[in-house]
Symmetry: C3
Subunit: 480 residues, 3 copies
């Protein structure tokens, strides 16, 4: 083992910075100027229950770090470790006894496969969380796995290790969750009813009542929508009324944004008659796959229309084939690390929406992509022209050092930073939020430092851009 | 404000160079070896009137820098500044009084939004032009905007600030314009008739009489072609005759190249009967959208055939959806920063043309792309095989530091530099030409320096490649 | 000539390393830790005759370096040097007298065009082979071409310059060839029958009996398959039996893998009736282009099924339009540098295969791409989930410094290195193998050094990853 190589590793304060000594010095100074800014978390998947329950405590280290994290279990799965052995819960009706319930064994299995995360963002997040949250400085190994498990368990159980306390400790200024259109928002109500003043808001995500109109689940979701809205949904207009009513409710509960997923960014404008005909086929259970695609496309334009009226910032996350692994989906359900991106075309697909609303004075539409080829080719030119458009940060597989570097390199020259929206941590794992924001801020400052040492920007610009990318843009873009 | 960061900015002579001290030293030496070479400008959009009018003077700073520059006004537009407020002229029939006519106010609006260009090529060009042409060393701000306006205005009015004088001062060896097939080339004639010996040549761009055969504008353009050519265009053969006649005229006027735009690189070979049938439908106003696509595809092969005979170098610029913003197009017309790229396939689409002419001894076809994914995947392998093919430099949104770096990284390993054609400034803004060429030469030398310090090439190669990329390749490729 | 620039070139031991002094020091130490590891060559195109013939000697320098190398002759062809002048043999029936037979003249032509390879991988390979194999340190020029020709010729004729001796000198641990399903493997048999213990194994490549069922050549190939297998192929089941029999034979001869080319990664599952109907149309000469696509798609799933049973590792190389230049294909045949990539979709196209076999415990499928846009977008997410999938190294046009750097940047964050398979030299040119592996190892170590100096990985990980990428992964992935 040539351990002298460790002499070349940076001190911790300069980690993730690239380039020579000058560039690293600049990156560090820029990072120090933003390191203590509050965190704006405008898009994510943290469960609001964490903040509604005044004394919520996290379960075991396995539950905290592994079991809910599809980045983790899909990697072990790809190398032959069954999901069962990783404690991933099965669908109802499956043989639950096959699922490992001993969290110490799950943790041990993970430790034995920890090398799989060498050079991956998951590896960096885990290492930095272990260090920053739990004070663990050594590397997780099969030999020390149980000792580290004990250490984490102890801290998870500590009285101060509650989401509300962490929220303050992390300096979270505002955090939004993602919630189904039919959600009662009861946890959000409980937070508002409590004496805690942390800003936690819902986000309106109507996918389940919009997408898949050819599926039985859609009909069940519309029943639910009928029930929670109190609107008698019998046709397309009453369906729209129900959605508008839910958006009003979300806005009253603090929401400033909506979110929409779609397999492609296809948008379309149907006549009222066409829309209702598809809708009726949906209710009758006779809608086709083509109906479903067209209905989603039309509803994206409807949602843009609603946002232009009620001011909710619209987000679009297209480009993933969900639940690609049929066998895993059948046994374990959705979100099991088997959502696979494919190539996209924003330029043609968004045109119907943009023809209607591209220059609307109060609409804002934030676009995300899983196809990096579209960043410079389509998203930057679109957002660099249309007033309503902003580009969301690198998402999902691209929430990584290279994903961020590519984003800065591909988007900024054409769109400028002011057509982007800062960072989204987009995570279910509340405790990983500071780590993720720090990584983004470090890479943003590293990029700005490279521009400065090449003479592309001056110090004044660099400092202003670092602040905007770390804090200001997200706050402004999401109207928070 | 941490102003000590400015200590890390490079001296002006080393701006835009990357890497460590060694690499920057090499880049600087390479750049110095090419900095004073004459400029070859084989593709651009400068108005030939500038050189026909012996005493042409530029209008205001707003007219000089902002109003005609779609890179500038689309960025402000994307952030909510109306095109009217930026002085962008409207179509006939629109309410022209809505357009700001006070150029000082337009300039002030620009200064207030100057931060939008941080880290963009437009920002670099503007800064370098202000410095190099007008001696302005400070940054444009809302506070100093009117003072800088005065300073520029004064110099624009100076007796020596004429295009002809600048042409010589810039060391332009040859500059070509882009001209419709039906253009009278009267300004080119005036230049030839004058005693000035600057080499300014037209380029034959027949798009308007080729593309859009399903549009009424095409019929009007064919009427114009009939009129200027004197050929009685009644069928496809007589249309071809008229085009050949115009090409002969352009060649007599010094043209060495043609240029062609198309939404995709589709090429096709129709039978004489098929071509004429589409053509007749075009004349009759009954051509379809499919006719238009196929006609353009066939005409690209026809144009290749003509180039193989008359020696005009053929250029193809595909991949943009023009006038994507319908509302802007209707009010302000074409070329308003709303041309948006989309994904391309050269490999299949060019095959019909290449099957006919791919190895023709006297044809040269220069390909440009707006889809960087095609650079390494398709263009480099194609140009690295077919004798007629060369790859044009990064175009439009990619005429930037990253665009150029990507180009060198994506194209050169497979195609080699000798299947590329040096630089095109591709600009309407005559006075920006030296700045753009300098940026290209700097980034080319930066790339060569990285190859040298990695031991990929030696000093002899680096110097030869720097010369070729800066000067030799463009001159040879365009037969200038 | 500014020869002082040569002072900035690295010493030979640090060539191809990037970054500052620290990173280069780390890269060098990592490289030194793997430089002497044996070579695993699990995919390539070396002729097994080289090892069957105990006293094989290479022909002239032109034959050794140029005539069989499509990387070389296509570059000169692209610049107007006819294939004939480069000694490329013609198809039967063509005028063979047009082909240059004087190898000294071919070599001289190459030397006169050597500058075309500046900054290309071919340029690096040639330079390093001339240096490492033949001790030539100066640059090839038209002036010294014949002198160098003499020097190489002399060494080619030396008694020790045989493939078997070189195999040992290169420290090749195992090398596999690529062989048609109908191949007799006579050279492999000869190697086994000899007293030489070099491990040279075949790879089962059934393309010619699978692809192009609409072509007459397919029928001829099936005749051949019928003959070598002894199976009376009359329908789809008997065709499958014949293929299984051939796979068994290949396995007996040491094969551990199969290889499959296809224009796209389309997979499909046909019913037995559908498969047989297409097969019968193929036999009858009435199959269509659509039949051919579907048959290949179905056969990929069939081959996956066979691999799941017999344990042969399956490789898929999709994405090239073969023999794009019709005129060259007609005169010179296949593999003449005119195979051009195009855009791919793995996500949708592989789904039928993955639905059947994606989590099979004994199947392994290695995917290669010629569309870099799919690396991060599709291959890494797919291989980072499905247990059967691994990602092959950068292939063909991407077997280059940038191709490798892109590969590390695009694949590893999502897939991790353990879902990749190390290096394939993929070459016909046996003597170039050490050079190609060294380039890969250097670039891998350069990448790892960048991770270390940025604090992404530690020294322990870096050393383990260097070993895996240089040696371990290939050996494990191919079950060698």
């Amino acid at each position: 083992m040539n351990s002298s190589l460790s002499n070349y590793m940076p001190e911790r304060a300069e980690r993730y910075f690239s380039g020579g000594a000058d560039q690293r010095t600049v990156a560090r100074a820029l990072f120090e100027s933003v390191a203590d800014l509050p965190l704006i978390c405008p898009h994510g998947h943290v469960d609001p229950l964490l903040f509604a329950d005044t004394n919520y405590h996290f379960d075991s280290p396995a539950e905290f770090f592994l079991i809910p994290d599809h980045y983790v279990f899909r990697m072990l799965y790809s190398q032959g470790v069954p999901l069962e052995a990783q404690g991933v819960p099965m669908n109802d009706g499956e043989d639950a006894s096959a699922v490992e319930s001993d969290h110490r064994r799950i943790w041990q299995t993970f430790a034995e496969n920890y090398h799989l995360f060498q050079g991956t963002p998951t590896g960096l997040w885990l290492r930095d969380e272990l260090h920053d949250l739990f004070g663990i400085t050594g590397k997780l190994t099969p030999a020390n796995a149980q000792e580290i498990y004990d250490k984490i368990s102890e801290q998870l159980a500590a009285p101060d290790f509650t989401p509300r306390k962490l929220f303050e400790q992390f300096r979270v200024e505002v955090l939004t969750t993602t919630d189904a259109a039919t959600d009662s928002l009861e946890h959000h109500q409980a937070i508002r009813d409590s004496d805690w003043d942390g800003r936690v808001y819902p986000t309106f995500r109507p996918d389940k009542v919009v997408n898949g109109i050819d599926q039985q689940e859609w009909q069940e979701q519309v029943d639910l929508l009928r029930s929670v809205s109190g609107v008698d949904i019998v046709d397309f207009p009453s369906y729209i009324t129900a959605l508008e009513q839910r958006r009003d409710f979300f806005r009253e509960m603090g929401a400033t944004a909506t979110d929409h997923a779609a397999e492609t960014p296809l948008t379309a404008v149907l006549s009222p008659g066409e829309a209702d005909a598809i809708f009726q086929r949906g209710l009758a259970g006779s809608a086709t796959d083509g109906d479903a695609r067209l209905f989603t496309a039309h509803m994206l334009v409807e949602m843009a229309r609603m946002s232009s009226e009620d001011g909710l910032v619209m987000q679009l996350h297209p480009g993933s084939i969900r639940n690609h692994n049929s066998a895993v989906f059948q046994r374990f359900g959705a979100d099991k690390g088997a959502d696979i991106p494919h190539g996209l075309d924003f330029t043609r697909n968004l045109k119907p929406l943009l023809d209607r609303f591209g220059s609307h004075p109060s609409l804002r539409l934030i676009l995300f992509t899983l196809d990096e080829a579209t960043s410079a080719r389509e998203l930057a030119p679109l957002a660099g022209h249309y007033p309503i458009l902003r580009i969301g940060p690198p998402w999902w597989f691209y929430d990584s050092i290279n994903g961020m570097r590519n984003f800065f390199a591909q988007v900024m020259e054409t769109a400028g930073i002011y057509n982007t929206v800062g960072f989204n941590d987009d995570t279910r794992a509340f405790a990983s939020i500071p780590t993720r924001h720090e990584l983004w801020r470090r890479i943003a400052c590293d990029w700005l430092a490279s521009l400065l040492v090449e003479g592309q920007i001056d110090d004044e610009d660099a400092l202003a851009m670092a602040h905007a990318l770390s804090y200001g843009l997200a706050k402004e873009a999401y109207r928070l």
